[in-house]
């Protein structure tokens, strides 16, 4: 199977999963949604396993890394700004909007969690790829 064929199959699987989830949402059926996602993941796994062509190489990993870093930066900054805004607006509003403030606090915790996760994974990967205290 060529890379192009694999990409086509990936699009088909994604369409199948989105259609199943959409139908499940319409009929309010969580089992159908879970089954659709599970079948999609399983099928993608099998296709990946059977294909002999190289699907991921250093350039793709490089791009994925950059995209992940960019997404992380955008998401973290957005969440931090939103949390500050929500907390401030929630406290200053007359009468005070407790729900907005709670949402702001939740966002700030998510931001902190994401920063902690980044730091931990950075430390782990840095050690794995050769950082050492030795000269």
């Amino acid at each position: 199977m060529s890379y192009v064929q694999f990409k086509r199959i990936k699009v088909l699987i994604a369409s199948f999963v989105s259609a199943t989830v959409a139908i499940a949402v319409v009929y309010n059926n969580i089992i159908l949604a879970l089954a659709g996602v599970f079948i999609g993941i399983l099928f993608l796994f099998l296709v990946r396993k059977t294909t002999k062509t190289v699907l991921v190489d250093e350039r793709i990993e490089n791009i994925s890394g950059k995209a992940a870093r960019l997404s992380y930066a955008i998401l973290t900054i957005t969440l931090a700004v939103l949390s500050l805004l929500f907390i401030t607006i929630g406290r200053k509003a007359v009468p005070p909007q407790a729900q907005l403030e709670t949402l702001g606090i939740t966002f700030s915790y998510i931001t902190l969690l994401s920063l902690a996760l980044y730091s931990l994974s950075y430390k782990y990967l840095s050690k794995r790829y050769g950082e050492s205290d030795d000269e």
Binding site: Y3, T53, V54, D57, E58, R59, I60
Partner: protein, 68 residues
Amino acid sequence: MENRTTNKIKVFRAMRDMTQEELADKVGVTRQTILAIEKNKYVPSLELAFRIARAFGERIENVFQYRK
């Protein structure tokens, strides 16, 4: 950062009548990666550079150049 690395992959491929797909299979990357390297849009790792040079039976400095 400006890319100062150039290469002669296209020339060596043409000399050996080799397609991008064949070279990609030989060195274990996707065809898109070979295309990006040929167009100087992606600088390969040292390991991949060695693999490409070896696929042509050439020394690495004959395939890749670094200009100051």
